[in-house]
């Protein structure tokens, strides 16, 4: 079995932060996610669209207090991609630290 690799979809920091936030909740409302990550509506929409195209997030519309709200949740593929990406990041840091120590 090969080691997890860096996922290009999750490479942009904002997208990784979205994936991290989704990992901590069952689902989250668009505006709440925007406020937590301190990004604009358009930036969040753009990244959610990219994550949705990759099959990593699901969007659902629901009425609340007479207003249409968008709810976001990670898919199983999104969950796995995030875990793999984080494992790859930790592995990369560990490997470079070991290489640096070996070179000393």
């Amino acid at each position: 079995m090969s080691a997890p690799a860096i996922d290009p979809v999750l490479h942009p920091p904002a997208r990784l932060q979205i994936a991290a936030a989704l990992e901590r909740v069952d689902d989250i409302e668009f505006q709440t996610l925007r406020d937590i990550l301190e990004v604009s509506d358009s930036v969040l929409s753009k990244h959610l669209s990219a994550l949705g195209d990759a099959g990593y997030v699901e969007l659902a519309k629901a009425k609340q207090n007479g207003r249409q709200r968008t709810w976001v949740k990670a898919t199983k593929a999104g969950h796995k991609a995030f875990i793999d990406h984080m494992t790859a990041l930790h592995e990369l840091v560990r490997a470079t630290q070991e290489a640096a120590l070996a070179a000393e």
């Binding site: 920091p13 932060q17 901590r24 909740v25 990041l89 470079t96």
Partner: protein
């Protein structure tokens, strides 16, 4: 990607977790509602007839109220199974609740309400309320300590 980029990415995740931790605060009444809903279900199982059914229905309805209340108040829903230590706590609580349900069945009278069932319900309410408070603290600690990766 090089080491610095990887470290920057990990920092970005830690920042997101810190911000999430700032949001992961539920009011005391929410924890108490959880305790009461579980107590109603446990008591409902130990009380015969329509009263018992009404208790169970009220407990389940209260769980639904909590689900939608969380979403409306916080803009998110977090189940008890998120996290690592938090999941262990949830599973332990499920085990305890199953034991409480078993005890409630044993204490159940054919007619009327065994006062011990009410006592058991009160105990369940207290334990579940404090377990819920503990769960919140554990979850925030995991978010702040990076224990969720």
């Amino acid at each position: 990607m090089d080491r610095d980029e990887a470290l920057a990415s990990l920092d970005a995740v830690r920042n997101a977790d810190r911000r999430m931790a700032g949001r992961m605060r539920w009011p005391f009444y929410r924890h108490a509602m959880f305790g009461v809903s579980e107590a109603l279900i446990v008591m409902g199982i130990g009380i015969p007839g329509s009263t018992g059914i009404a208790f169970i229905a009220a407990g389940l309805a209260l769980l639904v109220v909590q689900f939608y209340g969380d979403k409306r108040r916080d803009g998110m829903f977090v189940s008890g199974y998120k996290g690592t230590n938090t999941r262990r706590l949830t599973l332990s609580l499920v085990l305890l609740l199953m034991m409480a349900v078993g005890a409630s069945l044993i204490l159940r009278w054919d007619h009327g309400t065994n006062p011990l069932v009410v006592g058991l319900g009160a105990l369940v309410a207290i334990v579940c309320t404090f377990a819920s408070l503990w769960w919140e603290r554990l979850y925030r600690a995991e978010l702040l300590g990076g224990g969720l990766r």
